[in-house]
């Protein structure tokens, strides 16, 4: 006899937070933040390859969460909702950043080929520094699919909708990202 399987009491815990939130209990947000802060900061950092920008993203997300608290009802998964907010915020940030840097340096590629942020790679510790360095060299859209899928467990369908592309395109980006990452890591290993 194996251990009985549960359908996730984590989800029930979230349900209670959502219930409180929808009843206008903003205090529930302290708990929500504590529960998800590390995951959300990591997600934002992995997307933007910038730790301090990541903290700003998470802060922004909670500020708008607070602002909108009385204007909408939460349904569905809290974690998924927050991850989506972070991804959207990060995407917009990346867009405006690209626009700015394109305006300053027209000739340089926007995807940040040599602009890996040392603070970012250091943040994840030795073991993962090569991975984070390689992640930083992926184009934003590819990194986004990879991180949202592999780190946040988001469905391709959901990611595709957010990026405004077809599921096939999202899956294609995921495969490209994995392939590139693999060759970057192997390439460096051989050096």
């Amino acid at each position: 006899m194996f251990q009985a399987w549960k359908n996730g009491s984590l989800m029930l815990q979230d349900k209670l937070l959502i219930l409180k939130f929808n009843r206008g209990d903003l205090g529930a947000l302290h708990g929500v933040y504590e529960k998800y802060k590390d995951d959300l900061v990591t997600l934002a950092a992995a997307l933007l390859t910038d730790v301090s920008a990541a903290e700003d993203v998470v802060h922004d997300v909670f500020v708008s969460f607070i602002e909108s608290s009385r204007k909408f009802r939460l349904t569905g998964s809290l974690k998924g909702y927050l991850a989506t907010c972070v991804a959207n915020n990060a995407r917009n940030r990346n867009k405006s950043q690209r626009r700015r840097s394109a305006a300053v340096k027209d000739e340089m590629h926007s995807a940040g080929a040599d602009s890996t942020n040392p603070e970012f790679t250091a943040a994840f510790g030795e073991e993962l520094s090569r991975l984070s360095g390689a992640l930083a060299r992926l184009p934003y859209e590819q990194r986004e699919v990879l991180i949202l899928h592999s780190y946040s467990g988001m469905k391709f369908r959901t990611i595709a909708k957010q990026q405004g592309v077809s599921i096939n395109t999202a899956q294609g980006r995921y495969r490209y990202a994995l392939d590139k990452l693999r060759s970057m890591l192997n390439g460096e290993a051989r050096k």
Partner: protein, 612 residues
């Protein structure tokens, strides 16, 4: 080569800690909001319907709907009549124009956030021969970027087509005869616009000079002019005294305390040259449709309006309080999740019967269609001066013989919709009697029997028991959870979610037979629910009844093949049955759907099957 799994595992290891600085920032903001919130708790604001609509995937559809409604309303303003010498002349002039264009600028306040503003600009070209073409620009509610939309109404093909170049999307909507006739009449014939104004009480504003053009002004504040969409409305029309053509039309609409719209229609050009090719939109090959082809606009018939009332009552147990578009949509979005989920399940069930799975957007639109029909029908009654009166605030489905809604069909004759949604034509004297009863009954609700009231109270107390039981379960207090949930079920034996939580609690306590019985009950109540089969599959699996578990998981997958959870559950059961190939297949499927499969199961499966 590293297998994908390894990279994925590596990525999952990424872990940062939020800095103390961030902690302080966020907690302070929450506490601050909390303090402010307590101060003004009494002024809980209602959800902003536009904000909700604009945020989601429905945004562009909503834009199209706004444009459509806008077109219906905006263009209602120029008129035929002999009340005014100037306007009679205008009609003659306008009649001669085969095609004309104008610009619309709508400033919407409070639709995104209190005090926030958004400007929507549209250029319209209207041709008597070919149809309507409009180009709209507005800021994206999420990013603030300007997005543009092209809209065509093509009477020959009976379609409305919208193109969204930035998103590479299009939307093609079929128009029915009635709607088309109405749009044609109103949009191709500026006489209709002036007519409406002169049908209302209006005042003359005298003469002024606008952009070097001498113009006479007219103003109305008759609610009829906004087709019941606004609480307060003011419309001004300025006409060139030389050419007797409209030069400026200005509308101020206050929807409610938070939302208002300021619209300016100007830049009229008469007899602009148009070619057939201007009205032959080409959908580029890489554009995809936002909705399934063949989607039809909500119709505006009495029948569809009654359907809308019925749907609303089925979902919420009462009729909408008001039936203008804005109030109705706002009420609709405040429905609880359970009611919406129920509706979604019903729609999915219907689709399965018809053997089609639809795009989510189409599904959403179809769900709302009867409700929109109701609002559109009501607005046509207002526009056509049929004096509709609606008593949704006082009359509910239980007030079978009370007048819910009525409108004039001819002099002294009225059509009446009763609380039970039956209709009847009655003369004015009888209507007066019926309505007196209806208004009185609204105050006392005599036709709601005590029994029914008791039942209502019971239902809400069942939900209270459920909520408490759910909270106890979450806190791991199983005994209290069982007693509260059982109490909830005793009061309302059809409260599915109480069975769900109790079933999960039984499952946790290894009382699998009882868990299975509860999940079976859920399936009886909500046969179309994927999660109910998934839950029972889990309990069967835990009870060692593998074949029944596989059957339940398979049923869940059949209902909704895009939910990952049952694949993962079935993979686990296949593993226990020793059917490793099937297990792997389900693992891949769950992963493809974006659901992580537990590392323990993967490890065991790798070991048992010798694969990696």
């Amino acid at each position: 080569m590293r297998p994908a799994e390894n990279l994925n595992d590596l990525i999952k290891k990424l872990q940062l800690k939020a800095s103390a600085d961030l902690d302080t920032r966020v907690h302070d903001d929450i506490s601050e909001a909390l303090a402010g919130h307590e101060k003004k708790q009494s002024v809980r604001s209602e959800p902003k319907i536009w904000r909700i609509i604009m945020k989601g995937k429905t945004a562009k559809i909503a834009v199209a709907a706004v444009i459509l409604v806008g077109v219906l309303v905006l263009t209602n303003v120029f008129v035929e009549t002999n009340k005014s010498v100037v306007l009679a002349g205008v009609l003659e002039k306008v009649e001669q124009a085969r095609a004309f264009s104008y610009k619309v600028e709508m400033t919407m306040t409070g639709d995104m956030r209190p005090g926030g503003e958004r400007v929507i600009q549209t250029t319209m070209v209207i041709s008597n021969e070919y149809g309507i073409k409009g180009e709209t620009t507005m800021p994206d509610p999420k990013t603030g970027e300007i997005i543009s939309t092209q809209m065509y109404v093509l009477p020959d093909q009976k379609v409305m087509l919208s193109l969204m170049p930035q998103q590479k999307k299009y939307m093609r909507v079929e128009l029915d005869e009635e709607l088309l006739a109405r749009m044609k009449k109103q949009n191709n014939d500026p006489r209709e616009m002036v007519k409406q104004m002169l049908d209302c009480e209006y005042t003359e504003l005298g003469r002024t000079v606008l952009n070097g053009v001498e113009a006479d002004g007219f103003e109305t504040t008759d609610p009829k002019i906004s087709a019941g969409m606004a609480e307060d409305v003011s419309v001004k029309l300025w006409v060139d005294v030389e050419t007797w053509l409209p030069v400026l039309w200005e509308v101020e609409m206050k929807m409610n305390d938070q939302m208002s719209t300021h619209g300016v229609v100007s830049g009229f050009q008469w007899n602009v040259p148009v070619a057939a090719s201007d009205f032959e939109p080409v959908i580029p090959e890489d554009f995809t449709s936002m909705i399934d082809d063949g989607y039809k606009m909500p119709s505006m018939t009495e029948e569809s309006a009654l359907e809308g009332l019925k749907l609303f009552a089925d979902m919420s147990g009462q009729y909408p309080k008001k039936v203008d578009m804005i109030s109705l949509m706002r009420e609709f979005t405040t429905f609880n999740a359970e009611a919406r989920a129920k509706l979604r399940d019903e729609i999915k069930q219907k689709e399965r019967e018809q053997g089609v799975m639809k795009e989510a957007t189409t599904r959403m639109l179809e769900k709302m269609r009867p409700i929109q029909s109701l609002a559109l029908f009501y607005s046509t009654l207002v526009q056509d001066g049929k004096e509709p009166v609606y008593y949704g605030e006082t009359v509910g489905p239980d007030n079978a013989n009370a007048v819910l809604m009525r409108w004039k069909i001819s002099d002294g004759q009225y059509r009446v919709v009763f609380g039970n949604l039956l209709t009847s034509d009655v003369p004015a004297e009888e209507l007066a009697k019926l309505e007196k009863f209806s208004i009185d009954s609204g105050n006392k609700s005599p036709s709601i029997t005590e029994e029914a009231a008791l039942e209502d109270r019971d239902k809400s107390s069942a939900i209270d028991y459920y909520n408490r039981g759910d909270a106890h379960y979450f806190n791991g207090e199983y005994d209290q959870a069982f007693s509260e949930l059982t109490k909830a079920i005793e009061i309302d034996p059809r409260l599915a979610r109480a069975y769900v939580t109790r079933g999960q609690a039984y499952n946790d306590k290894h009382k699998f037979d009882l868990a299975i019985a509860d999940f079976t009950k859920v399936i009886e109540i909500e046969p179309a629910k994927t999660s109910a089969y998934n839950d029972r599959g889990m309990a069967y699996g835990n009870n060692g009844e593998y074949d029944l578990a596989v059957a339940d998981y398979s049923k869940a997958i059949e209902i909704d093949p895009l939910v990952a959870e049952p694949y993962r559950g079935r993979a686990r059961v296949y593993y226990y049955k020793g059917e490793f190939d099937k297990a792997w297949k389900d693992v891949y499927q769950a992963q493809a759907l974006g659901h992580p499969v537990g590392s323990k199961l993967l490890e065991k499966l790798r070991k048992a099957s010798g694969r990696d």
